[in-house]
Point group: C2
Chain length 353, copies 2
């Protein structure tokens, strides 16, 4: 907890002065004021976050954390757990959705085994930060110990620190873990105060009957484990997941290094919400990539005051939405850095009506 | 009208067989079926439009048509008309929003003078297709003759034909013209049947008072000119604009060459709606880039059954939304072409629940 507390304590606010300076430049570019809408918002925020009037976004990385979940024993997922390691191999070969979309967005992908129930041994390209071999079935007791949960968050922080030092200037989050909408819904219910039914959806595509079981399993598990909504690490350990903890750590590490972090979909947002409850200033560094199809996503975004960038009916995870959103955020920075001002272009900025 | 009629007559339907073939491949990629949402829709449509199982999108171009509007004499715009040629010079120097965002999207920009009230002479990089030196003030009579309106559409068709022959595989539309939300609102009202007040907004940022005048001017102009809603060319000539006609032509030319065309915002959509009323099959080739802030945009999209891709509070025009949307559409095609199948990746596609 010491590393987590220290990291959280280092998080400051984005520069309000630079926010104003950026706004002034945006208003002076050859377009009606505000007419590039959210691209202008992205530019202002990036400038204020970087604390630098002309920030560069040259190196971007998406952290895709993989973990397994004991809760799948309750029959809450559409796919068998073998798919988690199979998809990790797919990531490493470059054939998954996140590989394609990260290439499209000019971002690297770092695949992290933080809790997969499979022994990969030494594997080229896989970052081994395994804390657990799958979480325990939280229908029967806590998913992780408090120490394991902290270790997951610390692993995320350490990765963020490392990539910040290496000059990466934008992070994205992603995950892979069969069953991981279940802990995410549990976190959403505990931390937003909504009912489990309100924040539980069909994940990768379960039937109505399985959805009913999923809601009942989560409800019972919350009653059994009694996670303390005032203690985010307690929630993460009792009804969370390893990859969700890793994402929370990346968010904390990003914010403490003044690096913007693009939060992917439902599961990533559960991780971001854990980070937010540890330190609310983290929200100033977050960009919500998209509005997931998964029910319950919006409640978590609202709890952090985030407005999603895209709405493309995505529900894959892995960081795919984050990759796409990076293209829009970067567009904002390019507008800011590359457009001519009225003076440079000899365009009248007189408003006649 | 002959060229317009012939072009419209050549427009066929995208291949229903290829739509199904594309769907099958998408369902076989390493992701839950449908989990990439609209990206999958884009891929299916691109395959069906191209009539080719593996279409390439290597060359993209956005046509930005510039024109002036006599209706600005009625005090309906926030900016003086000199801004139209000033912005054309800005486009040619690469300093405008569309230049920045087209570069970001890997698209070329072709700037077309179709109706600017300024003599550019011979100018490197400017395509001269001038039909009028600004339209006439349609508060006092038709904006253009029927022949002029047809010539604008034909110019768009000819440009589309030319770029299709040169191997461009995706088109975008854009425009610049001080005052051009006014003819666009007039077209929207006449062709959707909504009241002028329902489809008229603040354009680049007029006051409430000017908005009231704008609505009154359009209302009176429609009563005066009596455009025939069953005759799109009549509507274009009486209350339209040259750049709107050019865009309608690009849409017709794109569809007749089986090339997808990304429709930018409010004004571009008015042009697309003219094309749609000439030949409704054009809608199968359109992608609506974004949901403009401009009131009345949605009514026109609904009339064509189009669902906008982005919603970023944009209201600049020029083709800026089209450039951004191209990045999302291309993402769909990359997913389709580059992701591994379950078989290739050794990932289980067994659904257990």
């Amino acid at each position: 907890m010491d590393m987590i507390g220290k990291t959280a304590g280092r998080i400051g606010q984005p520069s309000q002065d630079l926010y104003r300076i950026a706004q002034k430049r945006l208003d002076n570019l050859t377009k009606p004021p505000g007419s590039l809408g959210r691209l202008e918002e992205f530019a202002r925020r990036l400038v204020a976050i970087a604390g630098n009037e002309r920030p560069a976004l040259d190196r971007k990385v998406i952290f895709t954390f993989a973990g397994d979940h004991g809760i799948v024993d309750e029959g809450v997922s559409a796919y068998p757990r073998e798919v988690t390691p199979q998809m990790v191999f797919n990531f490493l070969r470059g054939g998954a959705g996140i590989n394609v979309l990260a290439r499209h967005a000019g971002s690297e992908v770092v695949v992290v085994d933080i809790g997969v129930d499979y022994d990969f041994g030494e594997l080229e390209g896989l970052v081994n930060r395994k804390v657990v071999r799958g979480t325990r079935n939280f229908a029967k007791g806590p998913a992780m110990t408090r120490g394991e949960a902290a270790q997951c968050v610390e692993s995320g922080i350490a990765l963020a620190e490392d990539y910040a030092k290496r000059g990466y200037r934008m992070f994205g989050t992603g995950e892979m873990g069969i069953g991981n909408t279940t802990p995410s819904s549990a976190i959403a219910a505990v931390l937003t105060g909504k009912s489990v039914a309100e924040v539980t959806g069909k994940g990768t595509g379960i039937s109505d009957e399985t959805l009913k079981r999923k809601v009942a399993v989560i409800d019972a598990a919350i009653r059994l484990n009694r996670p303390d909504p005032q203690d985010a690490l307690d929630v993460l350990s009792k009804v969370g997941g390893a990859e969700i903890g890793g994402i929370a750590g990346v968010v904390l590490g990003a914010a403490s290094n003044r690096i913007p972090v693009v939060i992917d979909g439902f599961i990533s947002t559960a991780g971001a919400l854990i980070a937010y409850r540890i330190e609310p200033k983290t929200a100033d560094y977050m960009f919500a990539a998209h509005n997931s199809v998964e029910k319950g996503h919006r409640a978590m975004l609202d709890a952090m005051g985030l407005d999603p960038i895209l709405d493309l009916d995505l529900r894959l995870g892995e960081g795919t939405g984050a990759a796409l959103a990076m293209l829009m955020i970067e567009a904002g920075l390019k507008i800011y850095g590359e457009m001519a001002t009225f003076g440079e272009a000899g365009v009248s900025d007189e408003i006649v009506n």
